[in-house]
């Protein structure tokens, strides 16, 4: 266990400070009447949530057990982040836009909501998808808006393939046997403080089931968004890929500007059975706070995959640019023999953002393989930490891991930190770790300027080049979005 602290020195800080200013483009509030529960959390609130969502009895039990676990836990403090503690009794744990029965066409969707999508920069193409326009590309959008999914498209095409893609509250009612079989099996209620809280109060999220031998006919996509003031969001996502199936799932987020810090504690559980593959891609652009770090989102997420079957594969790809505080470690438990886990990550921090992110690869089965490519970019006065655990259990004969961890620094007031943990309990395993730290060199910058590129474009270009190994794993339309996001997040942070 080692820690490598890196702080570069440059002289050109005034310039950096002067340029480090840009308003958050998605900062707006939508005026839709919310039916919220009053702030506060006790067993009564949990019973009320479960009742309003018309959940089966086992769900209420699951929630209450989680709540009792949570009461016994304390908030973790080991991460390399600093933030004001959250007052969990000041949060409202349920808020839903008023909608009757759910919309069947775009006409039934609140125009305010459509306007919100527009401001979020959801492409026209995707709005068409949402609208169900004929000939629109087949990307299903399951939009989570203030805790309740309001639009689910392409259900018919998916139905034909036998794919279930619906809000998790719906799954609890219509597919209780699947939910009961898999919920909490990857991330137990007692796993950690935030996961326990999520299990107790989760409002909505997505449920995906891909039946045996089915290749999901389209990319599944979800836009998460935080809206009502003081409403923490607690999504719960479960994706099950049955034997020999394949699914690619996209998740993208943005949030309106707020004064209070907003808590986000999602749980994502993935299960891949024999020969199944799940590709999970995230582009995250939550409000990072103003230049003093005020008002940004707290993102405390538990994402974990269980490669339960032989030859199964899970691949996490993430581009993280938002949030004031990020605490996130998408992980893979490689249970099945020959299973494969991959983690490709770009984490950008600017201003006062703090990110502690990375992955855990737990090698349980024989000949399990994992690859970790992490690219951290720090600018402004931010702190960007990579924390990774590679654990090889005694039975993991022939397990292999390759980890590459690169940091790019912009300016001399930011920090990049690497905390790699390796636990090897099988002598036949091979574990490799490579790490580099670099700066955007003055030579590179001048070379780009001399060809006519502006400073901003030059930085965008160099940074995107730095991240290419990760970006190329994103689905095409997402990659374009992510590239733009990198440019926006780093605008003005030349060092």
């Amino acid at each position: 266990m080692e820690e490598l602290d890196r702080k570069p020195k440059t002289s050109d800080d005034d310039h950096v400070d002067e340029l480090l200013n840009r308003d958050y483009e998605a900062g707006f509030v939508t005026d839709i009447e919310s039916e919220s529960l009053p702030p506060g959390l006790d067993e009564g609130v949990i019973r009320e949530i479960s009742k309003r969502k018309e959940e089966p009895e086992f769900m209420l039990e699951f929630r209450l057990n989680a709540y009792r676990d949570w009461l016994k836990m304390t908030e973790p403090e080991w991460a390399h982040v600093n933030y004001e503690k959250v007052d969990y009794q000041s949060i409202s744990y349920f808020s839903a836009p008023k909608l009757n029965d759910g919309p069947k066409s775009l006409d039934e969707v609140d125009p305010e909501l459509l306007a919100t999508y527009e401001k979020l920069g959801i492409s026209l193409k995707e709005q068409e998808v949402l609208a169900g326009v004929q000939g629109a590309p087949k990307v299903a959008v399951d939009a989570v808006f203030d805790s309740v999914s309001v639009a689910t498209t392409f259900k018919e095409t998916l139905n034909e393939a036998g794919v279930i893609f619906c809000p998790i509250s719906e799954a609890c009612r219509e597919h209780p046997e699947l939910v009961q079989k898999y919920l909490g099996t990857v991330v137990p209620t007692s796993d950690n403080f935030f996961a326990a809280l999520n299990s107790a109060v989760f409002s909505d999220g997505s449920f995906v089931y891909i039946p045996e031998g089915v290749r999901c006919p389209m990319e599944l996509s979800t836009y998460f968004r935080i809206n009502a003031a003081n409403t923490g969001q607690f999504e719960r996502t479960i994706i099950i890929a049955d034997k020999g199936s394949y699914v690619s799932y996209l998740e993208g987020c943005t949030a309106p500007m707020r004064d209070e810090n907003q808590l986000h504690a999602a749980v994502v559980e993935l299960v891949a059975l024999d020969d199944a593959e799940i590709k999970y891609s995230t582009v995250q652009n939550w409000y990072p706070g103003d230049e003093n770090g005020k008002g940004g989102i707290y993102n405390f997420v538990t994402k974990r995959a269980d490669c339960r079957g032989v030859n199964s594969k899970v691949s996490w790809t993430q581009v993280e640019t938002g949030s004031a505080i990020t605490w996130k470690y998408p992980s893979c438990i490689l249970t099945g023999d020959n299973s494969v886990g991959e983690f490709y990550s770009v984490a950008v921090t600017n201003k006062r953002q703090e990110a502690d992110t990375g992955t855990k690869m737990i090698h349980v089965g024989k000949n399990t393989r994992s690859t970790v490519i992490s690219k951290g970019i720090s600018a402004g006065r931010s702190n960007n930490s990579y924390r990774g655990l590679i654990k090889i259990l005694p039975n993991a004969e022939g397990a292999r891991n390759y980890t590459q961890c690169d940091s790019l620094l912009m300016g001399d007031q930011c920090g990049a930190h690497t905390f790699p943990y390796i636990e090897g309990k099988n002598p036949t395993a091979q574990v490799e770790h490579e790490a580099t730290t670099s700066k955007i060199s003055e030579d590179q910058l001048f070379y780009c300027l001399q060809r006519g590129l502006s400073e901003e474009d030059a930085v965008g270009l160099i940074v995107n080049g730095f991240c290419k190994e990760v970006m190329k794993n994103l689905p095409m339309e997402f990659a374009v979005e992510a590239q733009k996001l990198l440019g926006i997040s780093l605008e003005g942070s030349v060092g």
Binding site: C448, L453, N464
Partner: protein, 247 residues
């Protein structure tokens, strides 16, 4: 096109250029020669607008405008091109992507429509053919893993695609064997035109056998100590810088 008067410039506290006077007209090729440390590269950087190269006195006008006030990217968009002595690597960014971004930045600056991928490819292929540039050089990351010759040829390729008005070639011959030198020189010569001027900075006369200059200037101690026609270069080759530098 370019008028340099009494130019003084320093890097940090160190004065390097100490009163340069030079006028370059469209169509002309000027060679700047001189021993190591005479300020040749500094002159290129000052003209291209590199940060940290500070003009302390004198003036530079380009097409009638004050050049010193402009940022490096603006100068590039106005048609000043520097072929680097040590071309810089940009990992993960393909040469063609980089160059297209540059072309479009310049077109945008001039109020022209941006080139789409197809339009750019057509232009790039044309120029690559002209310079006998291997096709794969376009798709590899900018200068990453390029040989010395490939890097220099790539600089000329960028120049051909960007079609600048004033080309600064900084030690373009350094590190090239004779065959590579000829290819590069041919490329440069093919870009000579009545409305394009070039300033060729070189240590050796060798390059000037292939790129024949209209005027040759000897830079020493931050000043032009002697100017003449192409024969001056030959004379220097035979006699060395000795006498001039001592002066």
């Amino acid at each position: 096109m370019l008028k340099i008067e009494n130019l003084h410039a320093s890097v940090g506290d160190k004065a390097i250029l100490k009163g340069i006077n030079l006028e370059v007209k469209p169509g002309e090729v000027h060679a700047i020669m001189g021993p190591n440390g005479s300020g040749k590269s500094t002159l290129s950087y000052v003209l291209a607008g590199r940060d940290g190269y500070e003009v302390t006195d004198g003036s530079v006008t380009y097409n009638g405008e004050d050049l010193i006030e402009k940022d490096a990217d603006e100068r590039a968009c106005d048609g000043i091109y520097l072929a680097f002595q040590y071309p810089v690597e940009i990992p993960g960014v393909s040469n063609s992507y980089f160059l297209r971004a540059a072309v479009n930045a310049q077109r945008k600056h001039r109020g022209e429509d941006e080139l789409d991928a197809m339009g750019f490819l057509k232009l790039a292929r044309e120029k690559a053919k002209l310079l006998e540039l291997p096709d794969n050089l376009m798709h590899r990351p900018v200068n990453v893993g390029f040989s010395g010759g490939e890097k220099k040829r790539n600089e000329i390729f960028h120049m051909a695609v960007l079609e600048p008005q004033l080309c600064l070639l900084d030690e373009t011959d350094s590190g090239l064997d004779i065959d590579a030198l000829k290819t590069v020189a041919n490329g440069v010569n093919s870009l000579r035109s009545p409305d394009r001027a070039m300033i060729v900075v070189t240590h050796y006369q060798r390059l000037l056998d292939y790129i024949v200059p209209d005027q040759v200037h000897v830079l020493s101690g931050g000043k032009i100590v002697k100017s003449g026609d192409k024969d001056l270069a030959k004379q220097l080759e035979a006699e060395g810088y000795g006498d001039l530098v001592a002066a």
